[in-house]
Symmetry: C2
Subunit: 648 residues, 2 copies
Amino acid sequence: MSHDNQDQADASPDLQRRRFLNSAALTGLAGAGMATGLASCRQEPAAPAASEPAAKAPAAAPMSHSSVEVAPGELDAYYDFCSGGHNGDVRIYGLPSGRLLKTIPVFNQDCLVGWGITNESKAVLGTRPDGRPKYVSGDTHHVHQSYTDGTYDGRYAFVNDKIHGRLARIRLDTMECDRITEIPNIQGFHGTFPDKRDPVDASVNHTTRVFCGAEFSIPLPNDGRDLDAGEQYRSLFTCVDADTMAVRWQVLIDGNCDLVASSYDGKLAATNQYNTEMAVKYQNMMSAERDACLFFNVARIEQAVKDGRFKTYGDSPVPVVDGTRAANADPKTALTCYVPIPKNPHGVNISPDGRFYVCSGKLSPTGSVIQHDLVLKWFDGGLDDPRKAVVAEPELGLGPLHTGFDNKGNAYTTLFLDSQIVKWNVEAAIKAANGDKNATVVLDRLDVHYQPGHGFCSMGETRESDGRYFVSDNKFSKDRFLPVGPLHPETAQLIDISGDKMKLLADHSVYSEPHDSIIVRRDIIKTRQIYDLDEFPNAVKSYDESGVTRDGNKVTVKMISAAPTFSLDEFRVKVGDEVTLILTNFDKVEDLTHGFALPKHDINFIVNPQETKSVTFTVDRPGVYWYYCTNFCHALHLEMRGRMIVEA
Amino acid sequence: MSHDNQDQADASPDLQRRRFLNSAALTGLAGAGMATGLASCRQEPAAPAASEPAAKAPAAAPMSHSSVEVAPGELDAYYDFCSGGHNGDVRIYGLPSGRLLKTIPVFNQDCLVGWGITNESKAVLGTRPDGRPKYVSGDTHHVHQSYTDGTYDGRYAFVNDKIHGRLARIRLDTMECDRITEIPNIQGFHGTFPDKRDPVDASVNHTTRVFCGAEFSIPLPNDGRDLDAGEQYRSLFTCVDADTMAVRWQVLIDGNCDLVASSYDGKLAATNQYNTEMAVKYQNMMSAERDACLFFNVARIEQAVKDGRFKTYGDSPVPVVDGTRAANADPKTALTCYVPIPKNPHGVNISPDGRFYVCSGKLSPTGSVIQHDLVLKWFDGGLDDPRKAVVAEPELGLGPLHTGFDNKGNAYTTLFLDSQIVKWNVEAAIKAANGDKNATVVLDRLDVHYQPGHGFCSMGETRESDGRYFVSDNKFSKDRFLPVGPLHPETAQLIDISGDKMKLLADHSVYSEPHDSIIVRRDIIKTRQIYDLDEFPNAVKSYDESGVTRDGNKVTVKMISAAPTFSLDEFRVKVGDEVTLILTNFDKVEDLTHGFALPKHDINFIVNPQETKSVTFTVDRPGVYWYYCTNFCHALHLEMRGRMIVEA
């Protein structure tokens, strides 16, 4: 569908007026209290806004509340892996109950497990010269799992840090972060997605790459040059090796990256671009009526790297190929394809059958349906205009952001400004775009509370999308929960999508600010509950090994925990000593975790069954310091303690 | 009731055999896999342990699941304020839904709000000479609210840090920590409780003191002296002023402190003691058949301080009065009263009518009922033996720890080893102790899953205990939830106590390791949703004030956030500058929080509506660094960013 015939596709005249939001008007709205749905209800009681959050039942079909309750002793049906946003962590919820099952520290510090405190976690996080973690803050946005055969394989989850440009990997057997990679030459790492198979070797039908989109353009290298030459700033698209977590290659592009998607056949990666203007000022980022969805031809990029057709920037050895428009004018050799999309789009998602991408307009009320094989056709020279890969562009409502898919060909798009989820049929949208006046594109609308960001279906980002649940991660909860002061929780609303009409089942609360989640069938996740002593090179494997050794002022303390005692009920050091304490948990009982805390020395960490961890610290004052078990382990847990005796 | 007639009170012969657990046996159990309920179910499939966690319905009365579900748009009936344990934070859950509404960073770091990052939070946390927070770890154990007229007044919550010996205060209007006090001369600050009225001035019927119990004995001062003279180590009981948060006084005692309670009349504070042996080795902490519940006569202690009858230790100016047994032999002048309690007791709780304390035996299957006015009578010289204040000592089950109270005279005690809650009647226990064979002491038992620690009733620690809910915070969840790796969530099981029989309603999950909670009626909490610009001395109050000023290499950047822009879309500094950035959120819309993140400089914090926060950092490299809003605020949230331009 070209832009010219787009008007014919409009089935909702009432949306016409809202076709493209005028950017000047939007800017003005901000100053005027944002009547677009964010108006304060409590501030302006005389004029209820669209999002008036009275504690009313939603305007949906009759509710089935009992369906979210999981009786005592019963298990949830799904895992929900959720990025914590500017908390820097990843959370695991159970669905449908909404119970928070785990918080996995990733880019943040967490003294519960000792993340950022133990030597092992510091090795993952990276350190400064003085041994402290390099960063203690993060901003996790998108969490995705590794794939095999187009569905989750339970091996890894990947999550990005927007602030410092890092990609982290979480082992799903232990639910712990095992690797963090800081990506060079970028800022504002926003979207990420693993690939689903190799673009060339069809036998590699599992994740081996993770794609990473950088949102902010910067001078290259960012070493003080070109500070005021905004037009020379650039964004890069990055590929990280899923196994080694090394950066494989980067692509220099025009415009920026935002969200990222990957095709099921492994051939393409995609990112939506909201700032094709390449502006450095807010007000100039909305001048173009169309931005783009940018596709990367993975095989060609990797061939270019092999062929040595790349540059490097500054100290970074990473090969950077040229994906700009100017360098990719010939489709038959192009590394990239820029598909025009109206306006400041946000979000690109691929349908479970692998045939379509939906890229939302954000400042346009439209969702653009891009046909995968038409993009491939363009790369093959068979399509004269990338825009022709857009086969439908239905009007969905105001502020469309993200789209989930069920197993019946339907899409569910979050409408930020309308505070709605709109259910629509992809094939019907294509028929309507082709002139079928009888095609019913929009099937249902459901109010959510309020201003939804990401929305996602159960198994919806896999070939096994099952059409059971949709979760709307809303950015404002206002008064959906008991008031807890100026900082509100957000709502993750659980919606039943198994019938014709969506049903709002529950307001689950989430600590600010979840950004994106995936909903994973429980049978896919196979965890280990107990470690193996042998997987820790520094494990204290017997009571004979337990003890204190000294090398100059470096002291090594080896200790065992076994409920309700530590193997050492005291150890002795001197002021100025650098102490490395290694603790192995000998208990083999599932769930029998021990903690280790040392007063006044800021030491706090846990060891799970058969796990070993270590800390290194300097003792700087004499006295008696009682270390103790922090994780209730036994009737005599309180008595589980010992003394570090520090001589002057 | 004296120890001599205790045997007559035993109504359950089957408990007789378990009267006092032999400490040697307990020690041995640890090595043998803890058959006392902690045995691994997965490790020993052939011999299911008592706590076999099959996903079965509990052996309780018919369940009423729908009663915990809070429909979309509806509000919970109660707040649950919960200490996070060695996570160092405080959480707020809604009940009955179990939804996590807020996580309040206290002793930990939290890059979501910028706790430990902003100058304002560092001023609360205390800093090292280099400006970093003094500690980044904590271990919160007991959270309690301030009282007026014997019930919660919604002003403050207090919570302790066991590791570093700190007491924190949380403002309940904004749900933020506003003060932290590090207590001198102590280690292992475990129990804490606010007072409920002044012991002398009856018109002061609200909280003005917070009592703090130190669990670990140390040399005084702990400066390297007496390292090996364990018999000279001492614990102190501390009083902190609730308004100024200054330490008022301390009491030198024999033995240690554990949990803490305060009387409704303001006259007494109490702590259970599990190590009256004053041992420094684990195996010697269980030799005594009885330890104690120690009472403090607050008025007399404060008179002694006024009279100058105190010492100080080391650099601490805090007056320390002598509360040892030897110095307090005469009841009429005694500051302290040691009531013998069997064995290694854990937990002391006062009944809502103010008449009784229940102190649990832990290694004895008993709960000791201590009558408040008999303790006062001892202090008046009218009772010859403190033990006679114990008016009942019913056998409850194995490993009794903590007791909650309803509004019908019933007590609910957690049995750690039996994995049960036992409901019993206090007056009946006293009757039985007095020889009434017809008194039914134990009314009900309910299995919980597994190994309960604290348990607490709705409003149960106030005169307004309402008998609606009991929550059992269990230390092991084993397989009550979807598996999430070696570190398990804990279970907070919600139990309906409104009828004759307890009903298990829900397995709520909690991130490790909640230690204690209070359940507060929702009408008591009155929060503010928006700040006032004027409460921040450094607020940027107009766009005219926004800008950059320089004083040598110290640069001050004043900025305003108003969706979707920052007032400065760029600012310019030089390598080596020390930058203080002050950000005021001009938005007045409830829930419209903005975040501020600065790549590569580890800056990440939020400003709530009308709030001001600041950060200070040094720029150490040239280049362009995009600061951006982290908390989704507007359709153009992604475009809300600007450049810090650093010149070489």
